[in-house]
Amino acid sequence: MDEIISLKKVDYSYYGKIPALKNINLSVKKGEMFSIIGLNGSGKSTLLHLINALIFPDAGEVLFDGNNLTERSLKDESFGLNFRQRMGYIFQNPDIQLFCPTVFDELLFGPLQLNLPLEIAHERAEQTLSYLSIGYLRDRPVYMLSGGEKKRVAIASVLTMNPDVLLVDEPLSSLDPKTQTFFIELLLELNHAGKTIVFTTHQLDLIEHLQPRVAVLSDEHTIQKTGTASEILNDEELLISVNLIHEHIHKHGGEEHKHFHSHYVFHKH
């Protein structure tokens, strides 16, 4: 598989003072399912912002399909349009992602910005509404949706652009179990359809479900290890060191006890 995203020695800090990412090196291949895991504040979302060229590194390079992503390169209209079309970003908070008057406008926004003819944009929007079973929301204002509906619309608004790469920030955050299942199956289906998926999470069960290649971000904002899902999930020492599993009290029937515990993977007694 060819490399589609590559980060080389990337550093990023907020206001030049608060370090968010240090010496990040990673690569994602075309059609791959890739996950960045780490605690809140470890820099996962910042990393996705960098990959989507919304912010630019203090040092190092971010490459997309071999092209360096810089403010200058994105000012080239043809390259900028091509890049935005090929990479879609689903934000963690759908409230900030939905800004158009209605759901249908939301689905048309990306394609129309990227100069897709109106008829094709319409057709895509209708097909996506049907695919995600949200046809009944078509003309509703976006601020009148429930949390799960907003998330579906946020996904739909990116899918209408038909991106090659989907960046998904915390896919399951604030979703009910049914919508979580829907989202997991959707990500798998899109990946099988050839889309490259890069997502962030701190939920190890999602890694178990989707079996992506994983990069582990530490509290020090560096990549601690990259490997397959099973390599990472079976490295108990690593997960303890980055605080993704920890010692806590829980109950089994009537018995209450305390030990290192991950709800989905590790459970040694």
Binding site: H49, N52, L54, E77, G80, L81, R84, Q85, M87, G88, Y89, F91, N93, D95, I96, Q97, F99, C100, P101, T102, D105, L108, F109, G110, L112, Q113, L114, L118, A121, D139, P141, V142, Y143, M144, S157, V158, M161, I249, E256, K258
Partner: protein, 311 residues
């Protein structure tokens, strides 16, 4: 297993708390202010949604409604005859009947606005102090005429025919303008109404800014309401004014910061989907027979009052 829970949490009740005094809670003014403003925002937001359910007027294309609104505003301001204004009042009222809106509820708001801006403000113009003419109802009589500031106060002060006509005309103008505007607003979902401005050449970027501002009003009003509930759940009202002011100003700053973060991230979300400085919004330009019929009726009524009842 050794518990680290503080000892006070293991006791029930709070014996050490001093009972409060019987004075009224100072949070009551917050109750009124915050909840009323939150409810006002919510009602504006819901009115278009409620109005969009059924009814003939609701089915008319928003572009036609906007053109009609502009046309009627011109007609209402040009017509100088009370009879013509009454014809327009009846015409607009019939629109409400066709739209099947909650007439009493809506007209209460309309009459309130018309009373304030169309009657109370211009009421003195009905007196002969401002509108000279034959007095038809004497209010007060003085021994002799006098002069006060820029006004000549005549011996007899009362309502003049001309004055009453002026006040009635202004009242009806305000009533008609407000009621027609409300009819359009109440029967059109806000997003469609905003997009209809495209037809008069308002740029997409400007419409997008209005839409975003509108959306953030609701996000922020919800935040304010929730912050208020959190405050209320922890305070019993016996709090010094200065402390309360400090608390509220702190919350205002928090909301400002939150708004700034939301704006920044929304901008990122727009850039990520191809925004490069100009917005392309799609607007529905398909008109049907009913749209043309509605437009014809509005134009015909406007022409009738302009041509057959000239000033």
């Amino acid at each position: 297993m050794q518990s680290r829970i503080p000892s006070y949490l293991l006791q029930s009740g709070n014996e050490n708390f001093q009972p409060g005094n019987t004075k009224r809670s100072k949070l009551s003014f917050l109750d009124r202010t915050i909840l009323n403003s939150a409810n006002a925002v919510k009602s504006i937001y819901l009115q278009g949604e409620n109005g969009a359910k059924d009814g003939l007027i609701q089915k008319i294309n928003p572009h036609i409604k906007l053109i009609s609104l502009i046309y009627m505003a011109v007609v209402i301001s040009f017509v100088n005859e009370v009879t013509s204004q009454i014809i327009l009042t009846i015409f607009i009222f019939s629109g409400y009947l066709v739209a099947r809106l909650k007439i009493l509820e809506v007209y209460r708001k309309i009459f309130f606005l018309a009373f304030i801006f169309g009657f109370l403000v211009v009421f003195p113009a009905s007196l002969n102090v401002i509108s000279p003419g034959k007095i038809i109802f004497n209010l007060i009589s003085f021994n002799k005429p006098s002069h006060f500031w820029i006004y000549n106060i005549p011996e007899n002060v009362g309502f003049t025919e001309n004055g009453i006509k002026v006040v009635t005309l202004i009242f009806l103008r305000v009533l008609n303008s407000v009621s027609f505007a409300f009819l359009v607003v109440y029967t059109t979902p806000f997003p469609s109404f905003i997009k209809s401005f495209k037809i008069i050449g308002v740029p997409d970027t400007f419409l997008m800014i209005i839409t975003l501002a509108y959306k953030f009003i609701f996000i922020l009003s919800r935040t304010i309401e929730e912050t208020y509930f959190a405050l209320k759940s922890r305070l019993n009202g016996n709090i010094r004014d200065s402390a309360l002011r400090k608390l509220i100003s702190g919350r205002v700053f928090f909301i400002f910061k939150k708004a700034a973060t939301i704006y920044e991230n929304t901008y990122f979300a727009m850039v990520s989907r191809g925004y490069n400085g100009s917005v392309k919004l799609h607007s529905q330009y398909h008109f049907n027979l009913m749209d043309f019929v509605a437009l014809t009726i509005v134009f015909a009524v406007g022409l009738i009052v302009l041509l057959f009842y000239p000033a």
